[in-house]
Symmetry: D2
Subunit: 346 residues, 4 copies
């Protein structure tokens, strides 16, 4: 059994981790922290976990964490980098669902996240946990940077095109739409039901924190070539789901059939990437509450613009599910263990 | 392995059955019908089932059904009663998620459902499948009448009060609220997104088909005593969930603590009924996509009116999940086998 | 022109007042306060008011209020009672959309609202502003207590039955459902989009602040007779709207036709109460963004339980619209002036 | 008074026309048709119009239409082209909210709409009714082609850039998102509440009927130069609203301030186009139930990609409201008459 601890169990990524881990056949849940609710029963905060989780929230200093094999951080940015060192010293591996270890350029990280980095040496060591790209490095990771939700959806969609070298890397456009749970479980006016429902908007067009992460990872795919990226996130009145609509200019003449084949062959061995048949449009609900990414590729009017549609559940493949997928790889388990949920529909 | 067939796999109860059964460790899925889509791949209609179900929809006459141990009917009312005889003759047990075998009084059934009954003898034989009341009879059932969604939520809420004989049976009120999936997957104007969203209404106040079913089953609990029931269903702009708010006049002096104890002890052995601590209010999302019923009991202002709050997922405990629970009982499996889903939240 | 000021213009009732008043032909808008946003342009907070309102939020002490004919309080409970005295002294009439002047029994008010009352003498003077009941007293009011949203919907529904003396006043049930805007524009976890959407729940079954208000006003209708009331509020995943489902036991034999006539004749002269034809069910969206209350009366199975369905928009007839209706009466204007909005549908 | 008739009063554009016209001070409503509901009271179909509209639906042949000054068609495509001739012969002007007169190239129209055109000569005569571009021609129009919802939002957003000649016309991208009412009031499975809610998807990426309309009108702005356009529509789980996110490559060096000025000066005289201050993001709800278009322009990371955000209410500025705006122009009324609705928020 893998002994697992969770830092930050009171947010949406945290409760989703709990939902998955209590059904994971190779996991023993040891302890869960909550910044504000030490002592409270986890199931008193989340009635969905009644009869499932008997633990009470503990403080970060709890001894139980030293006996863990791995600790997940579902905390705000800036926490994992301060706690990881003592956990690693105790032999505990770390999977951070926040952004502390995602950006390799420390100055860039500090600019976007507005704080000094507390553990630069761990940034250098950390492995970026997108299994479909970095599976081998993930196996041996001590510090795992779990990708952001937008980056996961955008990366998987652009990947086959970039690897094939058939698009203009200087003018990529990612028009992305997210459900509201992506904003976290925080009491903020902008996330109130009455502010969000029956409305739609773009936000952070001037610059979103996932922009440098996406640009960095896209660039690594093409050997460090600089990427020209326009990234516009939008807020959708739905709880879960990300839909990335990706646009690129083709630099090679490739017909629709070959495009489709390119995507299907790139992901043919992947458990959690499903390329839809030509002409289809994935809905976010088709992956709701599951770890799947579904992708479709189009070439409208047979023009030189390729359009990729990529959907994930932001809390699963975009957070907790991918984190468990990474844990499975790190501990030599079947990659899909505990992640065989059928999406909930309707 | 239990060999299972499904009649009516293209509706919401049907796809929910599929979601549950493909993960059920003791089930082998044999065949699925769809009235309109014979030949279509099931996963082409429901992308959530891609990589999960390889079957194509077949016609009702398909030979595969004869080799089944049990067939579920997730069809409109009036289908199961015409198909059950030949299946039973072939040794196949039948679980009907529609209403064909729920009402024992044939004249009453024909009045509410507007057609002549095709198999009166099966009505007499059928077992009403609310496990928390009729578990023993369910074990041997050949024909299982799976309860309606409203009746399940209302029955479980009134049950302890009726069995204890402490309320006035002449003036029960069930103010019930349902998500929209309860209306089924039918192309009707009244169920359009733009007609439902951001609105709330009562419907069928003059008479709803679940009224006679609830009245019949409540009456059986009190030995056939006639029940005075007012049942008002409402439509909530949400996909899944039923919330029953139940009102009854206390005829005995019982304090809040004793009321709470009464509910907790009545359901103490039940896997799928969870009585909340005193003072709590169950949300429908606390049971979303799971087979759980959560109940709270209140006595406002210490008056003589008791208020019970009862929530289920109409597609699970109110339909497909309860049907699988019944199948487990009928075939001697652990009652919760394949039904250990943690509710999805948020 | 009526010179109007608003205290508390940054909440939902406040912005709804602004939406109505900027189109009101007899109103001149003088000043608007916001507790947190003094100096901010009103239209910077509410883009819907761009090109409609040129004012900036001011502090409560602003001189402009002394020149007003009337000031609306769309503030939290406890504000109007401290500000009303100096405004009245300056000859300004006061309409409070909060609860400061609604409950005549001071001890009762202090128990439910958890604070000492700052202006008991104004409670004695205040007029309860439900025009369909107290129109004459409203004309001369200096201090107007605008009714709560639930009380408005519940009162209008029970009114004809109580006045006719044909129901048992000891066992009234009001099962009420509200949209989320009723909780106000406050950054609270429980009102987040992801907490509310696709779910339904009851709340405050043990006791809601509108309970004593409803009981008081129902009692006044029947000459002070004590009322036995069970009031259960619920939260609906929609922005606007209240649906009250009311249950009472008939004490007289009255047939459906006579019940319908009773309701129609009671409200025949009312601009803002619309009795639907027999057998209909009002939807909350049928009154969305308008000052209308729509009511239907049913007698299921011709039994002795009468069911009344009453819907309003909680922000209009349940708050800002009714406040403007009261202002019109107080200043001798046509009661519907500025309130002729057609409900928005879909 | 302008005597007005409506063909197709039972759809969403029809009921929105009614909502606007019953408050229009210069309009007399003469007659309304419904294909399926001749004889039914309009307010029996739409309770929002109780006490507002006394008419019953009539057949298209009704004599009342001959006495109209103008008839609106809120019918499916293909109806206006068959009815317009006899109305024009009777001296009645025609405003078509459908697509019959929008596309000048008949072959193109017939390809996209799948039928032969019944009145080619009227296509040649018709004026495309986007007032911000064609105001002068609209004044004298006998046949007015009211723009589609997507084309309105996309056109207004690209307009200043195209007129200024500072973008590459060969690679325009319009990523557009629409509320569900855009699909009309039709009983189709895909528009059911349970199919749409809590999900998001693109559709018709291969080709949407608004594609040729947008391309034609964009091209007219630049003197007939061919436009390279990629148009991807998406469905948002909300009732009303369109959000167009537009991408273009700058061909001139223009800083953010100059871009902002360009947009502000282009629309400075327009009542129904509101350019937001730099850095803002318009929400669709900021125009809900109003005829306003709100626009923001961004240049992320000071790169060569300009991003325009443009929002409208698809049923108002995208349909009924713009139609009334055109009627006002055609009949010499103030352009905003009857269209001064403040958007409803929350």
């Amino acid at each position: 059994m893998i002994k697992v601890g969770i830092f930050g169990g009171a947010g949406y990524a945290g409760v989703e981790l709990l939902r998955i881990l209590v059904r994971h056949p190779a996991v023993q849940l040891m302890a869960v922290t909550s910044h504000d609710e030490v002592g409270l029963k986890v199931s008193d905060m989340f009635p969905t976990l009644r009869r499932q989780v008997d633990l009470r929230f503990v403080a970060p200093q709890d001894d139980a964490f030293k006996n863990c094999d791995v600790v997940f951080f579902a905390t705000p940015n800036g926490i994992a980098m301060t706690q990881a060192p003592w956990l690693l010293a105790a032999g505990v591996r770390v999977i951070d669902l926040a952004a502390d270890f995602r950006i390799r350029d420390l100055a860039e990280w500090e600019k976007w996240y507005g704080m000094a980095h507390a553990a630069p040496e761990l940034v250098a060591e950390a492995v970026y946990g997108l299994p479909e790209v970095h599976r081998e490095q993930i196996r041996g990771a001590r510090v795992l940077a779990n990708p952001g939700c937008y980056p996961t959806a955008v990366m998987l969609g652009f990947l086959p095109l970039l690897e094939a070298g058939i698009i203009d890397c200087g003018h990529l456009i990612a028009d992305a739409k997210s459900g509201v749970s992506g904003a976290g479980r925080r009491a903020e006016m902008t996330n109130l039901y009455s502010e969000i429902t029956d409305s739609f908007k773009a936000y952070a067009v001037g610059g979103h924190r996932h922009f440098p992460e996406i640009r960095q990872e896209l660039s690594r795919v093409v050997g460090g070539t600089e990427i020209g990226l326009t990234f516009v996130p939008h807020l959708v009145p739905m709880i879960r789901g990300i839909h990335a609509t990706l646009y690129a200019q083709l630099t090679s003449d490739i017909d629709g059939k070959a495009l489709q084949d390119l995507f299907e062959s790139r992901f043919s061995g992947e458990t959690f990437v499903d390329v839809l048949p030509a002409g289809r449009h994935p809905e976010t609900r088709s992956v709701r509450a599951s770890n799947m990414c579904r992708i479709a590729v189009h070439r409208p009017q047979d023009g030189d613009t390729v359009v990729v549609l990529s959907v994930i559940d932001n809390l699963v493949k975009g957070a907790a599910g991918q984190a468990v997928q990474n844990m499975n790889i790190m501990f030599g388990e079947e990659e899909s263990l505990g992640l065989d949920m059928v999406p909930v529909s309707p």
